[in-house]
Symmetry: C2
Subunit: 200 residues, 2 copies
């Protein structure tokens, strides 16, 4: 079995949401696992000088249309949230807290947070919402509530984001396959082919 | 036969070059023609506040790698030019000058200019290079040389670019199919499907 794919994403990224729905199955077809790594594009954009997609003149209105069109193409429920984009710090912290105990549970939380935000229109910047979703998956409610205010967990997220930037991660989704980087939900086809051919 | 696809591109855009190599065949499979429309991203970026791809921190180095990888995938000769990006005003003007006489010849010129720049490393900002390439295709050398300095042709290009921006064109390649816009060489698969299904 080859090395796990490294999957970087922001909980506020619709294209990250689309990729999250497909990446595990894609990797599994090639006998690969996936290491999930939520990041904060707000921090990344300070390095790159980029802006949130929907705020760019001309590109913003196009992006909205492309998002709905892509969601229909992939068959994924999607509604652009009224509060968008968001700084999903709490969601990221909850993910890393759980991932140290149970990587599968953390991945399940990520999928549910994405669904809550992009399909059900819930506010995943709210700690109450995050904890409720985690609890429904069987996570320890009190432990998570306490952890979300723990400075150590805040530092953990910061160091994860810094490490991602140091690796060159500038967008979401961003997938690294055996050292080769692929950016964008529309590059999953290239990832699939890369895994099939071993590169070209 | 349906309406022609509208294909906007910048001669300095590698992804535009990749799309140019494929779009006519794609359209023809659906019984469609393609209207080619070169633009200047430099003017577009003044509206959108965007930067040339390869100049963006983190994203630039990735983009270079993705360009070579995409070229290999599509089987298209590619070498990032030493002078990149360029303002391809002369190339655009030559295109519009020829397109009023012979649309097929103008399209052929566009393909040859792209090849000269991205495959052969020639400087297509040089009027001499542009005229030489056009002459080899059978264009009137003196007529084109004169036209390239004609203020009317400069105005023509400016109005084409303004019209593109007014339509929302913010990048290259940008394809409009029956009013539906698709941005990026990696959206040609969506264009293909859109033409097959009539939309989704």
């Amino acid at each position: 079995m080859g090395r796990p794919l490294e999957f970087y994403f922001d909980f506020s990224s619709p294209y990250g949401y689309f990729a999250a729905a497909r990446i595990d199955d894609l990797a599994a077809r090639h006998g690969r696992a996936v290491t999930w790594r939520p990041i904060l594009l707000g921090a990344v954009f300070k390095t790159t000088g980029q802006q949130p997609l929907t705020e760019i003149p001309l590109k913003g209105p196009y992006a909205e249309r492309d998002l709905y069109r892509s969601a229909r193409l992939y068959g994924i429920p999607f509604q652009l949230p009224s509060k968008f984009p968001i700084a999903a710090t709490g969601a990221c912290r909850a993910f890393y807290f759980l991932s140290d105990q149970d990587a599968a549970l953390a991945r399940q939380l990520a999928l549910e947070l994405y669904k809550a935000y992009f399909a059900d229109g819930r506010d995943i910047t709210s700690p109450d919402v995050i904890v409720e979703i985690a609890k429904d998956l069987g996570a320890d409610q009190d432990g998570l509530t306490t952890a979300l205010n723990d400075p150590a967990l805040k530092d953990r997220l910061r160091s994860e984001v810094d490490a991602a930037i140091a690796r060159g991660v500038f967008g979401s989704p961003y997938v690294i396959v055996d050292g080769e980087a692929f950016w964008g939900a529309d590059r999953l086809d290239h990832v699939d082919r890369w895994l099939t051919t071993g590169g070209w």
